[in-house]
């Protein structure tokens, strides 16, 4: 079975303010996650904390960890304030651009893109003056 994945994150365009002003962060995501995107059984987001490989949720169906799940995970575990500025209707708020390894997420399947170890996900907010 695949190991827990390290996912690198970059927040910019003002979005970093919602994440404790840290532009560059990372999270650990298990290879299998609940299909309903519930995040209560996720491992700690700090890479220095040891995490269990067998962190399978006890109830419900599972799916391979994808970007949709990552967004829920970020909202529930990393976001410091104002979740409504990050997520809307089960996905990223319109006006926030997402890049997966420097590629537009629309080319990679958006929320259904399956995460791989060491992927870099960039979130850029466009919702501010120019």
């Amino acid at each position: 079975m695949a190991d827990t994945m390290t996912i690198k994150l970059v927040f910019s365009g003002g979005l970093e303010l919602l994440f404790g002003n840290e532009r560059n962060q990372s999270v650990l995501i298990p290879p299998l996650v609940p299909s309903d995107n519930s995040t209560h059984s996720s491992p700690s987001s700090s890479p220095s904390t040891p995490s269990s490989h067998n962190d399978i949720p006890s109830t419900g169906e599972t799916k391979a960890a994808d970007l949709e799940y990552l967004i829920y995970h970020l909202r529930d575990h990393l976001l410091k304030e104002r979740p409504e500025l990050f997520m809307e209707n089960g996905t990223i708020r319109p006006g926030i651009l997402v890049l997966i390894n420097n590629t537009d997420w629309e080319l990679e399947g958006e929320g259904s893109y399956q995460l791989c170890n060491n992927d870099e996900i960039v979130f850029i907010s466009t919702l501010h003056g120019g």
Binding site: P94, L97, N102, T103, D104, G109, I124, T126, G130
Partner: protein, 353 residues
């Protein structure tokens, strides 16, 4: 999903899906089509001629930074023969404008262009912070917008420029069309989609990014690693435009071409002749000489309201008449200096009027 190759050059990996066309393109093709489309916008509208002095309204934000970069690139690539300047307005918003001005100063170094900064404080005697303190957060965008428009014209006049360009993008213009429809503002609806506006006594003002999507501007800045400042104006969360913006973003998510479509609809609007006749004719302000629909221009009206402590009452024309009924302005209030298209900006002291 397997990586796709660019639909234009068929060689490099596609990194972006263009909202305007749905095309999947690579980085270099993206740079090229983005820049070339702006070039076409400029040449088709015949915006410039060789020798023009052009001021770029620069706030340090994403649109104006990318605009400065692209104008410089196109000017060199296609030999427009323009003299480019950066013009920045300091509204006096602590924690927002002072930070973004640092970005403009960096832009000046990076793009090697002369920079002029003009502040509300020196021009009107009021910073936005002071204005918001007096009137609260409801109508402050009206003050800021009106004051900024005049400030840009005066700054440009002092630089002797022929033309001001601003970074308004397709999303901005579509939002404005929606706002004007929502508020029933016929006069503005008829004007807001023009790429180039010019009054009799004012400097030409254009929007080369009129058809450029905000998403593409942000992606361009990201891939070119351009330095910009990105925070919401601290007074804007209550602004009316926010409603239009949210609606537009939802429309874009459903159908990306909606933004351009709204602009084209806005361009196609025509005001009926009978209604046009009731619109006010352009005149010049009796106090400062700037263009106006009434005896006093909006900026002078707003400033008088602030100076007399009745700012909230001058937002609408009807309220203005009520203020006039109370009595004329006292002689010793601060007024805006006379506007001429000549180099110097004189600051008049309150004792004169």
């Amino acid at each position: 999903m397997a990586p796709t190759s660019c639909s234009l050059c068929r060689d490099a990996k596609a990194i972006l899906k263009r909202p305007k066309t749905g095309q999947q393109i690579c980085k270099n093709c993206f740079f090229f089509v983005f820049e070339t489309e702006v070039h076409h916008t400029i040449t088709e509208s015949k915006l410039f001629k060789p020798g023009d002095r052009v001021a770029i309204g620069a706030s340090g934000g994403k649109d104006s930074t990318v605009l400065a970069y692209v104008m410089k690139t196109l000017n060199e690539r296609y030999n427009y023969g323009l003299d480019l300047f950066l013009l920045s307005i300091d509204e006096g918003i602590t924690g927002y404008r002072d930070d973004s001005l640092e970005t403009v100063k960096r832009n000046q170094q990076q793009y090697d262009m002369p920079l002029k900064i003009l502040s509300y404080d020196e021009l009107y005697g009021w910073t936005m912070d002071a204005i918001v303190e007096q009137i609260g957060k409801k109508n402050n965008c009206t003050f800021c917008g009106v004051f900024r428009r005049q400030a840009l014209d005066r700054g440009a006049a002092s630089l002797k420029v022929d033309h001001i360009v601003t970074g308004h993008n397709a999303d901005d213009i579509a939002e404005t069309v929606l706002m004007n429809i929502m508020r029933g503002d016929i006069a503005r609806l008829g004007r807001c989609t023009s790429i180039c506006t010019q009054g009799e006594d004012t400097i030409k003002r254009s929007k080369p990014f009129k058809y450029a999507y905000e998403k593409e501007i942000v992606m361009y800045a990201y891939f070119k690693k351009l330095d910009y400042f990105s925070t919401e104006c601290i007074y804007s969360p209550d602004a009316y435009r926010g409603h239009a913006r949210t609606f537009l973003k939802d429309l874009e998510a459903a159908r990306p071409s909606a933004i351009i479509d709204i602009i084209h609809s806005g361009e196609a609007f025509e005001v009926k002749e009978e209604i046009k006749a009731t619109q006010k004719a352009q005149q010049t302000c009796k106090r400062c000489g700037y263009m106006s629909s009434n005896d006093l221009c909006k900026a002078c009206t707003l400033l008088e309201g602030l100076e007399r402590g009745m700012a909230n009452s001058v937002i609408t024309d009807r309220a203005r008449k009520k203020m006039d009924a109370i009595g004329p302005a006292p002689d010793n209030i601060r007024t805006i200096p006379l506007f001429r298209s000549t180099p110097t900006i004189a600051v008049e002291l309150p004792s004169q009027s």
